[in-house]
Amino acid sequence: MSAADTSTAKVSPARPPAPPGTGQTARGRGGQGQRGVRRRRRGGGGAGLPWALLAPCLLVLLLVLGYPLARLVTLSFQKFGQPQLWGFQEPESVGFGNFTRILGDGEFWSVVVRTVVFAAGAVVLTMVLGMLIALLLQRVSGWVRTLINIALVASWGMPVIVATAIFKWLFDTDYGVLNWLLSRLPGVDMSGHNWFAGGPEGLTVIMLLVVWGAVPFVAITLSAGLTQVPRELEEAARLDGAGAWGVFRYVTLPVLKPIIVMLTTLSVIWDMGVFPQVFVMRGGHPEAEFQVLTTYSYDKAFVVNDYGGGSAIALVTVLLLLGVVAVYMRQMLRIGEAE
């Protein structure tokens, strides 16, 4: 089996799952990448047709994403508060004023670091748990697999806000079921323990919620990928004396690598952009220690009414994420080539 064969084989499951969990942008960008490549490959006559077919989609993208992005960029270079919003004053350009103010603000950097650590933790946990569940799915009997799949899809299907509210109850200080449960353990008294008294501990709880919501997609995608790992390779490795870990490390992982890279980049993008989980969990007003880039940007724009500053933060976030997006795009293009 040639390298090209394996990579095609493991790619096919990767592509369909990408859209469901993804936002508009991921789908749009992914789609464009693939189609762009295909067009180049087939080249030749009727170059206008693909564009004509793409036009409606591109137009929607332009309206839904292009226009807001353009406004975001303009806003971030303006002094824009309530009087400007209400039309009593013309917005005035402040050049890079918003950016220098933000970048020179220690609080902004601590938010950036917090966001990165939070996202990194969530991504690693999601990927490890997702992989473990995917491996487990391969080894259990049919009906157990069905049950696990149902559970996965159910948690995937739960609206974020509902899930967040339920986690909030679970972790409630005075009436939370978790404190009650832990207190049942001999020698443990967790009654009245406040999970959200401090940022690190509270964000860990929120991270669990994020991971809980993200694992199903990863697990299902990976288990689909796992079905494409050639049995004979595993067998050969085993004959050569590889243990379970060896097989996983030297056969399974390399075969799954493209899917893993894609899932990881997508997860990074999602987890950097976590908003409702933090926002709702902290009752709409995350404390300073709970602010991540998205809530911080929202706070600046809509709560403190510094729309210019909020936009600048959002733009910096986008720039930070561009690096990750580039990795994702590269992977998508590569998959396109392999086809």
Partner: protein
């Protein structure tokens, strides 16, 4: 799981959605609005839940004078109210009457959101309560009409007090703490003798003002934060002592669900708005059934000897500059907040917006407690940047840090002062 690629883009979209309308404002049209067909009134859910009949009465009175007029109502919750208002003011479909918390008025007035009004057009405007009158005035002009006021009172459970051998409500702070100590000892460490949510700055600042401190003070035309002054620190330390000694529940929760927690039966006393006790003993909230008939309001005594100065909360009604039915809006406000309306509001346990109606309340046993408590009151600094102080939750953050013990009182107060000084003088 519907997740966005980058929530930031979503946020950007929202900024844009609102901003895009920004340039269209100010069309106004016929400001006098003699021939308007529609009046839009935005009130908070309090009116919807507690006194819808007063709203109806005001509607009827105005419609009688303007046959064919439709009055549309929207009721909004306090937490997301201002974001919603900001957005609608960016369009030319601004509501004609909006309710504002009295501490929120100034920020909007400073930015030119509300139309100036002539107080003479409104009944009893010469007797408006000082705290409320202050909240609608800026630079010698008036931009709103006081709607109602709300004092804060102590409320405790007579049955719990009796269990601990306390018969009468406290008259002095020493009596109060002695009683709470006995209740705390009697009910054990999982019971809050005084359920006092840490971030509740209305309660905490009462201790600060009682000790002679202030959130901020005016020096010339500049405001300067004053939470680190020795007086303020004394008040904050006393507040911290209350939290440490009597507050055994979640120290990060704010006061918005206090009456619900009170109804769950694990608290002996609260210090809050006068209606909270009554709402807690509503069978909907009274989970143990022990509150009904056992609650008692009392005027909060303060550590310095007198009554604890309470925050004079309340609401104002304002007319957005962009309203195209300002004349009718004035009529509606008058019908709603005039003598008749005040009677209805007082019957619901609120304080009236004027002194004339307040006076008789003090001698009526049913209303005496909140009316007397309101005599000793404090109000937020009328500084141009006060709205930002409130929006940035500077006081809440400080109090939560004090409550959870994350920072010492001095450190937390110093950090809060710095944060306040940064924004309090900017519009």
């Amino acid at each position: 799981m519907k997740r966005k690629l980058i929530a930031a883009i979503g946020v950007a979209g929202m900024v844009v959605g609102i901003a895009a309308c920004g340039s269209e404002g100010g069309k106004g049209g016929d400001k006098a609005g003699a021939d308007v067909k529609e009046l839009t009134v935005w009130l908070t859910v309090d009116a919807q839940n507690n006194w819808p009949e007063l709203v109806k009465a005001a509607d009827d009175a105005v419609v009688r004078k303007h046959p064919g007029l439709t009055i549309k109502h929207e009721f909004y919750g306090w937490p997301d109210k201002n974001a919603k208002l900001d957005a609608v003011l960016a369009t030319d479909k601004a509501p004609d009457v909006v309710e504002m918390g009295n501490t929120e008025m100034l920020g909007y007035v400073v930015n030119g959101a509300f139309a100036e009004i002539d107080p003479k057009q409104f009944e009893q405007s010469d007797a408006w309560l000082d705290g409320l009158k202050e909240s609608v005035s800026y630079g010698g002009k008036t931009y709103g009409v006081p709607y109602y006021a709300g004092g804060r009172v102590g409320n405790w459970r007579k049955d719990v007090a009796a269990e601990a051998g306390v018969k009468a409500p406290p008259k002095t702070y020493a009596e109060l703490t002695a009683a709470l100590d006995r209740i705390q000892a009697e009910k054990g460490p999982k019971f809050s003798a005084w359920y006092q949510p840490s971030p509740d700055w209305y309660a905490a600042m009462s201790f600060v003002y009682d000790a002679g401190g202030a959130i901020a003070e005016q020096e010339g035309d500049r405001w300067k934060a004053g939470l680190s002054s020795p007086e303020s620190l004394k008040g904050l330390n006393e507040y911290k002592k209350v939290l440490d000694t009597y507050m055994k529940a979640d120290k990060t929760k704010d006061e918005s669900d206090r009456y619900i927690v009170y109804g769950q039966g694990n608290a002996g006393m609260i210090f809050g708005a006068a209606w909270e006790g009554a709402t807690a003993e509503d069978p909907k909230n009274d989970k143990t059934g022990k509150l009904k008939g056992n609650l008692e309001n009392f005027v909060m005594p303060g550590p310095s000897g007198g009554n604890l100065p309470v925050f004079l909360g309340g609401s104002d009604l304002a007319i957005p500059v962009k309203s195209d039915a300002q004349a009718v809006a004035v009529e509606w406000i008058n019908a709603f907040t005039g003598a008749q309306g005040q009677k209805g509001l007082v019957a619901k346990g609120n304080l009236p917006n004027n002194k004339a109606d307040l006076a008789p309340l003090k001698s009526d046993p049913k209303t005496a407690v909140p009316a007397i408590a309101a005599e000793s009151s404090w109000f937020v600094p009328m500084a141009p940047g006060w709205g930002q102080v409130e929006k940035a939750q500077i006081l809440k953050t400080m109090l939560q840090e004090i409550g959870t013990g994350k920072k010492s009182v001095e450190e937390a107060a110093k950090a809060a002062d710095e944060a306040i000084d940064k924004v309090i003088n900017t519009k």
